[in-house]
């Protein structure tokens, strides 16, 4: 069976796992191509206008896959991936959004992934999903391999980070932490290539995925209340951790994203209090890249100037991040 996976939302987090799992079960996977203007337009047309950008992009990818002739689409109904946490209400309604916004969409493979009560719920839902394709002992084997692959990939990111922190790799340029949902950061088209632009400008880019879960949890303690969105928790923990280590923080948020409206504000308040320059880039259907480019360049210029004249930072006015 040909199973389609849209290259959007949690593809950017769980693809290693999904790929291994379905491959072990002998299913063929088809991933939609990287986001393009056509895909975005397609999604924007199908969705109500108040929907956030990533979900619109997701709908575009689903359309794209439907045209490719897949047998079914993997659109999981993800309630939670970590204990007592949520992703976002839109993930909880994702299969329903897809079904109701798009006509003629292929059948959906949408297991309920609910890890609110611990990882057992997640395992059960994968086993249930797998048992549609293969006998249970094979499914258990596939799940084990998939989970191991996911862990390996996550760990390799962390390893990379630790290697970079090593004193041998003396930093020459600026160190910038880029924070945001993984599906925004790593989608070249949607994020307008902010990460690559920063790298081209000889910056060392750090993201939240490079931190261990323990570090994130530890650095969430500065909050008044436990953050109950998984990605929000990561972003806030990373902001707190990196604020002592980087020259500046760039937050990518999508317009009309519910969780971002809160987390970005909390990050901003934290940066302001600890004196870290913070740039917020809010992304929407707008595809003109020059504005973003200019802002990133200006931000880097300010950081460089601040570094050169370290004694009297900031070199003008009151502060780099005043409103």
């Amino acid at each position: 069976m040909k199973i389609g996976i849209p290259r959007a939302l949690y593809y950017y987090r769980f693809y290693p796992m999904w790929r291994t799992f379905f491959a072990e079960l002998g299913q063929e996977l088809i991933v939609s191509g990287p986001t393009t203007k056509e895909i975005l337009d397609c999604g924007v047309k199908a969705a109500p206008d108040g929907l956030c950008l990533p979900v619109k992009v997701y709908l575009g990818h689903v359309r794209n896959l439907a045209a490719k002739g897949v047998d079914c689409l993997f659109v999981p109904h993800i309630v939670s991936v970590e204990k007592q946490e949520y992703i976002c209400p839109k993930f909880m309604g994702l299969p329903d959004i897809v079904r109701n916004c798009l006509d003629h969409c292929p059948p959906l493979l949408s297991p309920t992934i609910d890890g609110r009560k611990g990882s057992r719920g997640i395992i059960c839902s994968y086993l249930k999903l797998g048992s549609c394709f293969a006998p249970i002992h094979k499914v258990i084997h596939a799940y084990r391999l998939a989970a191991a692959e996911q862990r390996r990939c996550e760990r390799s990111l962390i390893k990379e980070h630790n290697a970079r922190q090593h004193p041998c790799t003396q930093k020459v340029g600026l160190t910038i932490a880029v924070l945001g949902h993984e599906y925004l950061l790593h989608d070249e088209f949607v994020s307008m290539g902010v990460i690559n632009r920063l790298r081209q400008a000889e910056c060392l880019v750090l993201t939240a995925e490079e931190l261990m879960t323990d570090t994130i949890a530890e650095h969430n303690r500065f909050l008044r209340k436990r953050m109950y969105w998984t990605s929000g928790k990561r972003i806030l923990g990373a902001a707190h951790y990196y604020s002592a280590k980087v020259d500046g923080i760039v937050s990518l948020m999508s317009f009309a994203c519910g969780t971002d409206s809160m987390t970005t504000d909390l990050v901003d308040r934290h940066c302001r209090r600890s004196g870290i320059p913070h740039l917020v880039i809010s992304l929407d259907e707008h595809t003109g890249q020059t504005g973003v480019l200019t802002r990133v360049e200006a931000f880097l210029d300010l950081l460089r100037r601040g570094r050169k004249h370290e004694d009297h930072l900031p070199p003008y006015g009151e502060s780099v991040y005043c409103d």
């Binding site: 209400p89 309604g93 109701n100 916004c101 109950y228 969105w229 519910g258 409206s261 504000d265």
Partner: protein
């Protein structure tokens, strides 16, 4: 300790009864106004939902009147409401107006903190006062909702224009000063009879419209630009599918005992939304389908801009509308306070409904929206 709290429609009547009975000083902030909104918008994050902005405005106005403690609710997701109190604390801290917060959070969230915040609230009056306060607040809440329901029924039928709203406001103010359950019940009955007396006897059967959507925007007349009143004056009998008393009974009392299940909603929403999506998303879809079965002429869906659960519902509603043959008007509210566009859309919707009732030829029920 002088307590203030954000507004949500006429909920303040119940809260002030509770706080009064517990023996605390309190400040009821002025009703939400343009000033509240301006204050709230100025200090809140840009794309956050309207209830937070108005809440911040209410708290700031309460502080201006001398409050030093705020009473808020908490939650544990996935809707943003659960984080409101924490964010409001941050906002007030950055403004240099840090006040104490009493956050009625989920007991499983942080029990020690909950205890440390709630104990001083109850200590002064003791448990007996708490019991009486809760009973009184509950009774007032029910009375308020009954009066409002009656007003919704009477408004399209009223003989003298605008008399219902005046009578309702008078009745609500009367209710505020009552101090015993028996008085409240008697008064509520009397006032309901008074309201019903305002209806003209030979009125036609008005169009019936259900209001679905996010609870705050349904209950707070400032946020929804007096939606219910406007519809009433257009000759529409409004039915509010959200009731705060019912919500508290189901989601606070029964669900903490493990007795409340959302199966009824799930059955109604089957085929459209399979599980709760936080907030009132599932309720919206289920209630819209239920309204169609009950023979309502239409539904008005109201939501704050960027509300996460209601956006999911909004994605689904066009299909509910066409399958169940019930016209739905989705209204998104934000800081925008221009009334004319709002009024025009409502008038157009009511026109559509009345034509549908007359059975105009070639009529196709449609989901109206911004787009």
């Amino acid at each position: 300790m002088k307590i203030t709290f954000p507004h949500m429609g006429n909920l303040y009547i119940a809260i002030e009864a509770l706080l009064g009975e517990l023996g605390h000083e309190f400040v009821v902030p002025p009703k939400s106004s343009k000033r509240t909104l301006t204050l709230g918008t100025k200090y809140s994050p840009e794309t956050i939902c309207l209830p937070l902005k108005l809440g911040v405005g209410n708290l700031l106005e309460g502080i201006e009147l001398g409050a030093d403690t705020a009473l808020m609710v908490g939650g544990r997701g996935p809707c943003r409401l659960g984080y409101y109190a924490a964010l409001q604390q941050e906002i007030l801290y950055d403004l240099g107006k840090e006040i104490n917060f009493i956050v009625l959070d989920h007991p499983k969230e942080d029990f020690t903190r909950l205890k440390s915040q709630v104990v001083p609230l109850v200590q002064k009056g003791g448990l007996r006062a708490l019991a009486k306060g809760v009973a009184l607040a509950w009774e007032k809440l029910k009375a308020v909702e009954k009066l409002e329901r009656t007003a919704h029924f009477v408004r399209p039928r009223e003989a003298k224009p605008r008399a219902t709203t005046q009578a309702l406001n008078r009745a609500l103010q009367e209710l505020r000063r009552l101090g015993s359950i028996r008085d409240i019940r008697r008064r509520c009955r009397e006032e309901c009879d008074n309201l019903l007396a305002l209806a003209s006897t030979n009125a036609q059967r008005p169009i019936k419209v259900g209001i679905v959507g996010e609870i705050y925007t349904i209950l707070e007349p400032f946020a929804n630009l007096d939606l219910e009143e406007r519809l009433g004056y257009l000759g529409v009998e409004v039915f509010r599918t959200v009731s705060l008393a019912r919500w508290l009974r189901n989601n606070v009392i029964l669900s903490s005992l493990g007795l409340y299940r959302s199966w009824k909603l799930r059955i109604n929403a089957r085929g459209y939304l399979r599980a709760p999506v936080g907030g009132h998303g599932l309720d919206t879809v289920a209630q819209t389908a239920a309204l169609a079965c009950k023979g309502y002429d239409g539904a008005v869906h109201i939501l704050p801009f960027t509300c996460m659960p209601e956006i999911v519902a909004q994605c689904v509603l066009p299909n509910v509308s066409s399958d169940c043959r019930i016209p739905v008007l989705s209204l998104v509210v934000d800081e925008h306070t221009g009334e004319t566009g709002f009024q025009t859309r409502l008038e157009a919707f009511v026109d559509l409904l009345s034509r549908q009732r007359k059975g105009g030829a070639g009529y196709e029920p449609a989901c109206l929206s911004w787009s």
